[in-house]
């Protein structure tokens, strides 16, 4: 779901719906909505309730085969919250990675947007197309290329770092250490995620009247001062939306972590809430515990989403 993860909900073209003169037209809107609501209700909302129910059950291979249910109350949550792995490894991995990845994505994306805004239309078009290419690269293939770049021994990056005297190519394995694993993951996620930020911020920059920037220059404001006193306050809503959306996406990054060496649960030091939930469910057949982990992740995302919705509602009428 590359694009799903990286495409804003806020891509709403023109204005909010006008009041139809045939307004309040009884059953017709519901008939039109029915197929879509059925699909989304059956495949998104119902499973969400189901995962909540599963998290209260001991659901393993036996239950999967027999279809019986075995209620255990909050045992899965007790096990989850009592597991030191959660507090020492999984939660820090998930949260710190998301925060760092978001910070880099937003800062780098903004810098690129500021650069794009100063280019001539032809060069800007060229660079924008290159950025689109990075955006279009599927998560699966993008991840494999970055893994290739950091291949222990003869990967280009490992060789380059060796040449700089930073690592020893003969022994260095970027995927074994927690920090280096996530450094590679962050590079991958930023590469994939910054185009959205850059293009959205650029769109905002182009709405700032030239006169304001020119006046600030006349007043002797440098680039740094102009950004913080003029650009940032004017584009505060744009920055808020790209930050919240990037946060939601980076919290639930799955494919990019899972496909890295050891990311599929082999190296427990690099588990995130998402990969842990998946591994418990499908590798250990402990669907109940996996569901409890998924519920925890969903709850975290719900908090962030509520913040996002409040922003949307504040900015424009829904």
């Amino acid at each position: 779901m590359t694009l799903a993860e990286r495409t804003p909900l806020a891509t709403e073209p023109p204005p909010p719906a006008r009041r139809s003169r045939r307004g309040g037209a009884g059953a017709r809107p519901w008939l039109l909505l029915a197929p879509a609501l059925l699909v989304m209700g059956g495949l998104l909302l119902y499973p969400l309730l189901r995962v909540l129910v599963l998290s209260l059950q001991d659901f393993g291979l036996r239950e999967l085969v027999s279809g019986r249910t075995h209620w255990v109350g909050f045992d899965n949550y007790a096990e989850l919250l009592g597991n030191t792995d959660l507090w020492e490894t999984v939660l820090p991995n998930t949260v710190v990675f998301a925060v760092v990845a978001v910070a880099f994505t937003v800062v780098f994306g903004t810098l690129v947007a500021l650069l794009l805004a100063r280019l001539t239309p032809v060069v800007r078009g060229l660079v924008t197309t290159a950025i689109m290419v990075a955006w279009a690269m599927p998560a699966v293939t993008g991840t494999y290329v970055w893994v290739f770049v950091f291949t222990p021994g003869d990967g280009i990056a490992v060789q380059a770092l060796d040449a700089l005297g930073l690592v020893d190519a003969a022994t260095a394995n970027p995927f074994s250490g927690r920090m280096s694993f996530y450094a590679v993951a962050a590079l991958n996620v930023v590469h994939h995620g910054f185009p959205f930020v850059a293009l959205t911020v650029l769109a905002g920059l182009l709405t700032i009247p030239r006169e304001l920037t020119e006046a600030a220059i006349m007043d002797g404001a440098g680039a740094w001062r102009r950004f913080w006193s003029l650009t940032f306050p004017m584009l505060r809503p744009v920055f808020a939306v790209v930050t919240v959306l990037s946060t939601i996406w980076d919290f639930k990054v799955f494919t990019q972590i899972y496909l890295m060496p050891g990311g599929d649960g082999v190296n427990r030091n690099v588990l995130t809430l998402g990969t842990w939930s998946y591994v418990e469910s499908f590798a250990q057949n402990r669907y109940g515990l996996g569901a409890a982990i998924a519920v925890l992740l969903t709850a975290l995302l719900l908090v962030i989403t509520v913040a996002y919705l409040r922003l949307l509602f504040r900015e424009r009428e829904l």
């Binding site: 779901m1 694009l3 799903a4 909900l9 806020a10 891509t11 709403e12 073209p13 023109p14 204005p15 719906a17 006008r18 003169r21 307004g23 309040g24 809107p29 039109l32 909505l33 197929p35 879509a36 609501l37 989304m40 495949l43 998104l44 909302l45 119902y46 499973p47 969400l48 189901r50 599963l54 950025i131 990075a134 279009a136 599927p138 699966v140 293939t141 290739f148 990967g155 185009p195 293009l199 959205t200 769109a203 905002g204 182009l206 639930k252 799955f254 899972y258 809430l273 998402g274 998946y278 469910s281 499908f282 669907y287 569901a291 998924a294 992740l297 969903t298 989403t305 919705l309 829904l318």
Partner: protein
């Protein structure tokens, strides 16, 4: 900003964005016996890797599977989303805002939370290991965004045009086909591209649902070229190139509409 600084900036951005793509294609075309991961410019060029992945590698089959799944998702999704978009853009009814908020909220749900119950459900319904099962899931994933985007396009069509059609004696269905559909066609192109990419790129569900390698999609089929100890990077990159190129072509087609959407969505008013 100084011209030199701009030039450096542009070069930096171009290198960072295009380097992985460049490396992928060059490695796929690398004809040297040992595809070393250091090679930036191979001595020998070949399309052997492509021939291998499509032939012996079975990748042709995965491409066909992915294409079938993606096209089915696009067709069904486009129809369902358009109907729903007309409902929320053209009618005021109770719970309209609730429907819209729900469409927004379900985008937040992590796939990990859905894959567990849907796997159990699909198993019960004997939908595992079928392409139809994947289409149904991807339909659900692509619908919220498609509805959200299309509703803007539908709202932009003047109501007066619809009313003129009624005055000319057209039925609602006739008006829908002759007035609304042609005018929201650009929106349908954008959402179709989006739905296609959702289905084409999806990994977790394809990994979890598909047991028989005859049913793999491209994202999962790629893993075939990873050995226990050695990886055939030439094959991996050739297959990756085959997966990536269609997405990039679609992105270029949709570029204008995607960025227009971004602009309209990000900028107030």
């Amino acid at each position: 900003m100084k011209t030199v600084a701009k030039g450096l900036g542009v070069t930096g951005v171009l290198v960072f964005t295009l380097f992985p793509v460049y490396l992928m294609i060059v490695t796929a075309l690398n004809g040297e016996a040992d595809v070393g991961s250091r090679t930036l410019w191979p001595d020998e060029w070949t399309v052997r890797n492509f021939a291998y992945v499509i032939g012996e590698g079975g990748f042709g089959r995965y491409l066909a599977n992915s294409l079938a799944v993606a096209l089915a998702t696009v067709l069904a999704g486009g129809l369902l989303a358009l109907l729903a978009a007309v409902a929320v853009a053209r009618f005021r009814f109770r719970f309209r805002t609730s429907v819209l908020v729900m469409v927004l909220i379900i985008q937040m749900v992590p796939v990990e939370a859905l894959v567990i119950p849907l796997f159990i459900q699909a198993r019960t319904m004997a939908m595992l290991d079928t392409l139809v099962g994947l289409v149904v899931v991807y339909l659900a994933f692509s619908l919220p965004f498609a509805i959200w985007t299309l509703r803007g396009f539908v709202a932009a069509v003047p109501v007066e045009l619809e009313e003129a059609a009624y005055l000319d004696g057209a039925s609602w269905g006739r008006m829908f086909r002759s007035v609304l559909l042609p005018l929201v066609a650009p929106g349908l192109v954008a959402t179709s591209v989006f739905s296609f990419i959702v289905a084409w790129n999806e990994f977790i569900f394809a990994l979890t649902f598909m047991a028989d390698d005859q049913n793999y999609t491209v994202a999962v089929g790629l893993r075939r070229f990873f050995g226990q100890h050695a990886t055939d990077w030439g094959a991996v990159m050739a297959a990756s190139t085959l997966i990536t190129i269609p997405v990039m072509v679609f992105f270029v087609i949709a570029q204008k509409r995607l960025t227009d959407g971004l602009v309209a969505g990000a900028v107030k008013g």
